[in-house]
């Protein structure tokens, strides 16, 4: 192929509307491949408590609701679209969950796995036969159990810990793990361990000149990883003129990019640090995330024989 156009987005955190937009991005932007860079699952479950007489009670965006079963569907849809998981439950189960909060972890796991399973059916339905390749990598916020949902998929490929070829041409390695965060998320490693993982993958690349490093965590302190600086209570430190920021990216990712000098670095993780930078010859991008507003932020990248020819940040 003389030119390959790829679309990269990241951090949709369970937003069904963003995922649906992602699936349509290939066609809309005429991209040859669409890539999702991690953190695909949501952070929040909204309990919808059946209170008897076919009525469900819940709170959404600060407003309390009590709706009938017939009215429920519209609300379920709205909650899913925003990145939260509706969970139909009973007062008894709610009481049990209050008593044994450890059970919530299982509910989360089952709910988000089922949600992603449904998404993959949708992806198969929309992309099969389209010629558009689709790669979805889990991110640090995605439960480890999610990996099994991607097994034996025909249309969607989870490229993590593999060497894949986009359009049989561009070599890509992917890693959804990040360095340590204050939240103890499912896929985190110490910098040294993270370096061992990604360096091990990078060693398998035949031609780094045209390689893509799809690492969820951005490289440290290059402008793609600025997040609000937090105090010990995890509250952003703010003052006159705005919120203080700090680089939170990975030194291991930076070291690997500097050592192997790939063509392209695809990153996410830090929603507020949308941008593009060049590290040596490597073009690195973090498209940012605006998933909570249902807007899919992404980056369209045009690659020719010489490397990255052009790019465009999108908000669709």
């Amino acid at each position: 192929m003389t030119e390959i156009k790829i679309f990269f987005a990241s951090d949709i955190h369970g937003s069904e509307i963003c995922f649906r937009k992602f699936l349509n991005a290939g066609k809309a932007y005429q991209a040859d491949a669409i890539l999702m860079g991690g953190d695909i699952t949501g952070k929040m479950i909204v309990p919808m408590v059946e209170t008897g007489g076919g009525t469900f009670a819940f709170q959404w965006l600060g407003t309390p609701y009590a709706v009938s079963r017939e009215e429920l569907d519209g609300h379920l849809q709205q909650i899913r679209m925003s990145g939260c998981y509706p969970y139909q439950t009973t007062p008894d189960e709610m009481a049990l969950l209050e008593e044994k909060p450890e059970l919530i972890k299982d509910i989360f796991r089952k709910t988000l796995m089922e949600s992603v399973r449904q998404w993959l059916y949708l992806a198969e339905e929309r992309l099969k036969g389209s010629g558009i390749e689709c790669y979805i990598t889990p991110g640090n916020d995605d439960d480890l159990a999610l990996d099994e949902v991607f097994i034996n998929q025909n249309v969607v490929c989870n490229p993590e810990h593999k060497l894949v070829y986009i359009k049989d041409d561009l070599e890509m390695i992917a890693c959804g793990y990040s360095n340590r965060t204050p939240w103890n998320s499912p896929r985190e490693l110490n910098e040294e361990d993270l370096w061992k993982v990604i360096d091990g993958m990078a060693q398998g690349i035949a031609n780094t000149q045209r390689a893509i490093f799809n690492f969820h965590c951005p490289p440290f302190d290059v402008g793609l990883d600025l997040a609000p600086r937090l105090d010990k209570n995890l509250k952003p430190i703010a003052g006159v003129g705005g919120v203080d920021t700090a680089p939170v990216g990975s030194k291991a990712v930076l070291k690997t990019i500097q050592a192997y000098r790939p063509m392209l670095g695809l990153h996410g993780h830090v929603h507020e640090s949308r941008g593009v930078v060049k590290i040596g010859r490597t073009f690195c991008v973090n498209p940012g995330s605006e998933y909570s507003e249902g807007i899919l932020r992404g980056c369209l990248i045009l690659i020719d024989q010489k490397g990255v020819k052009d790019y465009m940040l999108t908000a669709g």
Binding site: I45, P236, V240, G241, R274, G294, D310, Y311
Partner: protein, 532 residues
């Protein structure tokens, strides 16, 4: 109510361990961010430098009151847009999404140009009206006299801009820390300045002024202005006070910048509106009381005379330093410590205001670069300093070029019409707010309940847009029907100002076609992707 009672559930949601779940900024944290930008001391000084000249006999305190409802609707518009799109980053994206990307760019380009022009004027005044008094109170009277001259501003503009570039090259956190220090110095200086006036009286000022300038110099200033053609028609006082609100609007601006960091505000619909409205109310209180105190202390006739001579007959203005109120500290007190604190406070205030101005220019360059409208190397982050050095240097150079244009040509006279054209641009943002709920129903429907609130079936954001449109329309009318604003208003001067808005269209369209030819269609950058 019944539904609300029935729907009580023990937990609204369950949250798992995931990144980004931070504690929310309180409305007070958010308020501090916005209120800091609303610069009370500088606002009063600037309002009294022009309004008494353009609108002789106007009541500036009343003008601040009259401007308040309009500022409220502008604040409401900003709050609601911020709540609907907290991570979008301001009017560029709001207009792009609501109307068309090219219109969004034109608005943003003009805003950037206005900020560059304002920063250039601020650097000019930094020398003449803020640095000169500081030198004076430290006993360097000859240096102060030289600093107050135009050529000094050209020379001193270079280190001032180099200092700005240096601060920005050290990163945004350094910028914020410098802002905090300057804010504290400004705050102490401004409060002390207001206190000196509140505890003093007009006779005290007259004595201080005459003491340094010679017997009857105070009355002489008023007389000189009269002889130079200053007249006040008491019958026009009400009308002029109404018109003077356009200056009050300029002083009220800044609190809207809260939208730039709204991504960090968790309950944004509540916090942003609370913070913006409280910042506006606190600012209004300071401005109104401050204006009353200033008039009581300096005397309305004297303030009018100084503004008149400074703007229309500067050769007749016999003052050792500039004509801004900040230069009058030397007449207000003989206490050297008070003089130093107030003068340093004013000096800090003008340097302080340059920082957010520089920030807006570089931030917008980033946005244009990401949208492929300017070469990407401009916004490249330097690997060694981790800051966008090139964009910062370009911003500094543009401000300096504008300083030269301002001081060496008559260009600025035309550009004063920027106030009017700026309001025209504000009308475009208002139009975006009016149509947003209907044109971008997809985003509007997902917005917090406050944004979706309706009055008589019309969304609150649309109402805010309508009233902002009326307010900005009024500013446009006053700006283009008042001869003193922008010199002699002619079709040429109007077009010179409008050109800065219009030029944005080819600046957007040329790279658009180039990029399209290369295989990337810029019009897709903000286009909504179909979810189905």
């Amino acid at each position: 109510m019944e539904a609300a009672k029935q729907s009580k559930v023990s937990r609204a949601f369950f949250v798992r361990e995931a990144t980004g779940l931070v504690r929310e900024l309180s409305w007070f944290d958010t308020f501090l961010c916005g209120f800091g930008i609303l610069n009370v001391g500088l606002g009063l000084v600037q309002a009294f430098a022009y309004a008494p000249y353009v609108f002789p006999g106007s009541n500036i305190a009343l003008a601040f009151v009259i401007a308040l409802p309009g500022a409220f609707f502008i604040g409401l518009l900003n709050s609601l847009f911020t709540a609907a799109m907290p991570r979008s980053g301001g009017d560029y994206v709001w207009v792009s999404r609501s109307i068309y990307p090219v219109v969004g760019f034109a608005v943003n380009f003009f805003v950037t140009f206005s900020v560059i022009a304002a920063a250039a004027v601020n650097i000019w005044y930094l020398a003449s009206n803020f640095l000169a008094p500081a030198f004076y109170v430290f006993g360097l009277k000859d240096v102060a006299a030289w600093v107050a001259t135009g050529p000094a501003a050209i020379i001193l503009g270079i280190p001032a801009i180099l200092l700005l570039i240096l601060i920005f090259s050290l990163g945004l956190n350094t910028v914020r820390r410098v802002m905090l220090v300057l804010f504290l110095i400004t705050g102490v200086g401004t409060l002390l300045w207001l206190l000196i006036m509140a505890l003093g009286n007009n006779n005290g000022f007259i004595a201080g002024f005459n003491g340094l300038m010679g017997a009857n110099a105070y009355q002489g200033m008023i007389q000189t202005a009269k002889e130079a053609g200053r007249t006040v028609d008491p019958a026009q006082s009400g009308r002029y006070s109404f018109y003077a609100m356009i200056y009050a609007f300029q002083m009220y601006s800044g609190f809207q910048m809260i939208g730039y960091f709204a991504g960090e505000i968790k309950r944004v619909s509540k916090s942003a509106i609370q913070a913006i409205m409280v910042a506006l109310a606190a600012g209004a209180l300071f401005f109104i009381i401050g204006a009353l105190v200033v008039v009581r202390y300096f005397g309305n006739e004297f303030l009018g005379a100084v503004a008149f001579l400074a703007n229309s007959a500067p050769d007749k203005l016999n003052l050792p330093l500039g004509a801004y109120l900040s230069s009058f500290t030397i007449f207000m007190t003989t206490n050297p410590l008070l003089r130093i604190i107030v003068s340093l406070g004013f000096l800090a205030t003008i340097i302080w205001i340059l920082l957010p101005q520089m920030l807006i220019v570089t931030r917008n360059m980033f946005a244009w670069s990401f949208d492929r409208l300017i070469p990407s190397w401009i916004a490249q982050v330097n690997e060694r300093t981790h800051s966008p050095i090139i964009a910062t240097i370009i911003a500094g150079v543009l401000i300096y070029v504008m300083l030269l244009v301002t001081l060496l040509t008559k260009f600025w006279a035309y550009l004063v019409n920027l106030a009017g054209v700026g309001a025209l641009v504000g009308m475009v943002v208002a139009a975006a707010a009016i149509i947003f709920p209907y044109r971008r129903k997809d985003i509007f429907d997902k917005a917090p309940s406050l944004v979706r609130k309706t009055i008589f079936g019309v969304p609150l954001l649309t109402w805010a847009g309508i009233f902002t449109l009326i307010t900005q329309g009024l500013v446009v009318y006053v700006a283009f029907t008042t001869p003193s604003i922008g010199g002699a208003v002619s079709m040429g001067s109007l077009l010179a100002s409008l050109a800065m808005f219009i030029i944005a269209f080819p600046l957007y369209l040329i790279p658009y076609y180039i990029n399209k030819k290369r295989g990337l269609d810029n019009s897709l950058a903000y286009k909504e992707l179909p979810p189905e």
